[in-house]
């Protein structure tokens, strides 16, 4: 299996490390339903037979976290995006994250 890293191009699997499900987001620990939300975040998985979003780390490459869309039935790679871009899109593209310390 080969992954097309948006930074480095197509690379073999031995350059990457798999982390897990990329479809879950860390809940707000101060919310009223935090205990239930964290249970779901840590343990409950869809385990889809088909396209799944997964987190991969390009550990001997650019050190970027990637969201890889993989078909779990065929191992076909349907897309690779930078996890940073996925997260920024999800949070409404907050631009103040690092600039406060700059």
């Amino acid at each position: 299996m080969r992954l097309a890293c948006p930074c480095c191009g197509e690379r073999s699997l031995d350059e990457f490390t798999f982390l897990g499900d990329a479809s879950v987001t860390r809940p707000d620990p101060s919310a009223d339903d935090a205990a239930g939300a964290f249970h779901a975040y840590a343990y409950l998985r869809r385990n889809a037979a088909g396209p799944s979003d997964e987190l991969w780390f390009h550990n001997t490459g650019c050190h970027a976290w990637l969201v890889v869309t993989r078909d779990t039935r065929t191992h076909e790679i349907l897309g690779v995006r930078l996890a940073q871009d996925v997260a920024l899109a999800r949070t409404g593209n907050r631009k103040d994250v690092r600039e406060t310390s700059a």
Partner: protein, 199 residues
């Protein structure tokens, strides 16, 4: 009581030279190295400032550029490695971290890596044959041209590799503590070539 002393040494100092026909292995010493990481949305301003100072802009992903004063090598998204000879400017000892920090203040984080990296140049007609044994990417010039740079691995040791010319010469940068493991691999990868001439 004898006094404890720390003796300065280079990353590859304990490795015996590798003598193989058609291959030149040159350990690069006496360099100052600093990492540059752009703050969010500051990369363009940073690159302009670097270009105004050194005459070369920050290179695109997968590229490396050099001027007389500095080599700039892409090392990841929004990150570069700056490399220069320590004694380059009029004999004065250069320290790239100290030199770059005031220039890029507010635009990027700069951290000294001089003692954190080992750098080796591998060149010659057999360079491709040897590197192909451990480096998984295609290093042929049609895929990896002069000025190209890639983060990958050599026999599972993380390296940044750049093609400097069409001899070909490749410069490999690695974490210093892996220098001996890397040389062990290089020695076994070159063993079959020791007693034969390149065709």
């Amino acid at each position: 009581m004898p006094e404890a002393m720390l003796i300065e040494t280079t990353p590859f100092a304990r490795n015996k030279p590798i003598a193989v026909p058609g291959l030149v292995v040159a350990y690069r010493d006496g360099v100052t190295v600093a990492s540059i990481a752009a703050y969010r949305e500051k990369a363009v301003a940073l690159s302009d400032l670097i270009e105004a100072t050194y005459g070369v802009a920050l290179p695109a992903p997968g590229r490396r550029v050099s001027s007389n004063a500095i080599t700039l090598q892409w090392s990841g998204p929004g990150q570069w490695l700056a490399i220069a000879e320590r004694g380059q400017r009029g004999g004065a000892v250069r320290d790239l971290e100290a030199e770059l920090k005031p220039i890029v203040a507010g635009l990027a984080a700069v951290v000294d890596q001089s003692d954190a990296r080992g750098i080796v140049a591998i060149s010659g007609t057999r360079a491709l044959n040897v590197l192909a044994k451990g480096v998984p990417i295609d290093l042929h010039e049609r895929a990896f041209a002069t000025g190209d740079v890639a983060n990958t691995h050599a026999s599972h040791i993380a390296i940044t590799i750049a093609r400097l010319d069409d001899t070909p010469t490749f410069e490999l940068t690695m974490y210093r503590s892996y220098a001996t493991s890397f040389t062990d691999w290089l020695r076994s990868a070159t063993a079959e070539f020791v007693h034969t001439q390149p065709r």
